[in-house]
Symmetry: C2
Subunit: 317 residues, 2 copies
């Protein structure tokens, strides 16, 4: 914390997974908010009404007596679930920012185009010094099916539509997204899967989404389908996906999230030819872009207004 | 050729690099045009007024006495240059089709997003079983500079703009493309390069573009810039690019085209960590989509109308 802190200014403690404290400091300074590194929070507990966190330790937030609002650094709030994480009655605001959505769209478009254009195969060809062109279909001959049609899913669908893919989407409750053939509920899941060549999972971690990508749902996909999981690892039954890839029914998978992160050294995924592993980077929070969302909510809170983008921990987002 | 060919229907000989004869046959059949495989052309020379070719052997087209129009299967026509390839006075029509442009846009967007999101590094991290997130900038903090602002360059710029990148373009003569900061001529090349983080080369093979990506122009790029070449390999001085990558000044390169294709086993490119090699697949002609362009020109020719999309072999496109 800066030494010349004005004690009348709001103060927020920031716990980030990456060493971006300087970026956060700069971003909040421009918005007249003081910031303290998570590890120094104990020295300012009486003034700390706000915390911006990723995976806080159990008990840590409960030990902040003045805490009034918790901001999640990520879009998902499952990292705030569990025993003794969020103190009773303290509201949680989820991260919503254009660049978080943009990052997810970049990731999904990259992986869909990559599988569509056989880039996963050229990686291996290059290692073998093999120059071997592979014909590819036109996007109009393929359907991208998106599991989860919220802000991220709708934005990804819009971006993919520009390339000429057919778009389908599935969600728990009925949703309407322009240009996307929408399916909902358990009853329509098989039809959605049967028409999907590139399955993009953007589902949050909830009891309903756990294990949704399993032997049965994978079998319902056409042979040669690809999986892209940028939602939560809990949606996938790993043994089932590995078996479906080994059998050739699933032609490849890009996994940005897995059941246990970081992915264990012993996981078969690492060495599978048609599996692409990325370390939960599909979308990262940019301090310069997201500080506005936090600052605006702090202003609303100080002015006695209701907070926006409140999370529902039970629902999972 | 089908045995029940009606000799009053137009006949075209097709030489493709890939074994897509059945697809071509189907596409032309639907358009009332008969087709003969290149290897069987000698049996139909008196009726063959049209040829659709990729890299024809020297002398082959000259040996077709009835030949009136040559169609290039690729967008570029440099494969038709050289001694005794195109007979004097026979017009060459270049390939223009939406899916050819679309394919190039897919490729360019894929490679730009890949470098932007460090995907070339995650490939190696996966091999080392390393789970290590790397922060990335926002697209608004980066500029994609496109060498060549024709149909392909303009389409790629438009697609990249959607992601929020800044766009710049350079061409020989002044061009105006919405949303793209345009530069032209030798005098403005340094300014264009100085502002470019991702350099996308879509230049045709002409005497003017040969060796344009060399020590001097690479030095003019900011440190950490990336190169994507989906135009022609002749634009790159390989030793200069290899040196610039080894020095770290250039952070990576995606090369779909090289000076000698297929890329030689001995090329250093194959094993360079930050180099991605693809076998000239950025954009491939789709028979079902491109047959229209050829068929329409054949109709125009039969009706005595002027041909569209005539190529200028000297200009190179």
């Amino acid at each position: 914390m800066q030494n010349n802190t004005d004690s009348s200014r709001p103060l927020i403690a920031v716990k980030s997974d990456f060493d971006r404290f300087v970026e956060w400091q700069q971003a909040f300074k421009e918005r007249d908010i003081d910031i303290v590194d998570w590890r120094q929070r104990h020295q300012h507990l009486e003034r700390l009404r706000y915390a911006l966190v990723w995976q806080p330790e159990a008990g840590a937030l409960a030990d902040m007596p003045a805490l009034e609002v918790i901001f999640s650094i990520g879009a998902g709030v499952d990292h705030l679930k569990g025993e003794n994480i969020v103190p009773e009655g303290v509201p949680v605001v989820r991260m919503v920012q254009d660049s978080l959505t943009a990052g997810m769209v970049e990731y999904v478009v990259f992986q869909v185009l990559g599988f569509h254009r056989n880039m996963h195969r050229y990686i291996h060809d290059q290692r073998a010094k093999r120059w071997s062109p592979i014909p590819y279909p036109m996007p109009a001959e393929r359907t991208v099916g998106i599991l989860g049609l919220g802000v991220l899913g709708s934005a990804a669908a819009k971006a993919l539509k520009q390339f000429g893919f057919h778009l389908a989407g599935w969600s728990r409750s009925p949703k309407s997204v322009p240009g996307v053939k929408s399916f909902h509920g358990d009853a329509q899941l098989p039809d959605f899967l049967a028409a999907t060549n590139y399955l993009v999972c953007l589902l949050p971690n909830t009891p309903q989404t756990e294990g949704l990508i399993n032997r049965d749902t994978l079998s319902a996909l056409p042979s040669g389908a690809f999986i892209i999981n940028a939602g939560r690892g809990s949606a996938v039954v790993d043994d089932d996906l590995i078996a479906a890839i080994r059998s050739g029914h699933i032609a490849g998978a890009a996994l940005d999230v897995v059941n246990d992160e970081p992915l264990d050294d012993k996981s078969e995924y690492w060495e599978m030819e048609n599996v692409i592993i990325t370390p939960h980077i599909a979308s990262m929070t940019h301090p310069s872009d997201s500080a506005d969302h936090v600052a605006q909510n702090i202003r609303r809170h100080l002015d006695g207004l209701s907070l926006t983008h409140l999370a529902d921990l039970d629902r999972g987002y």
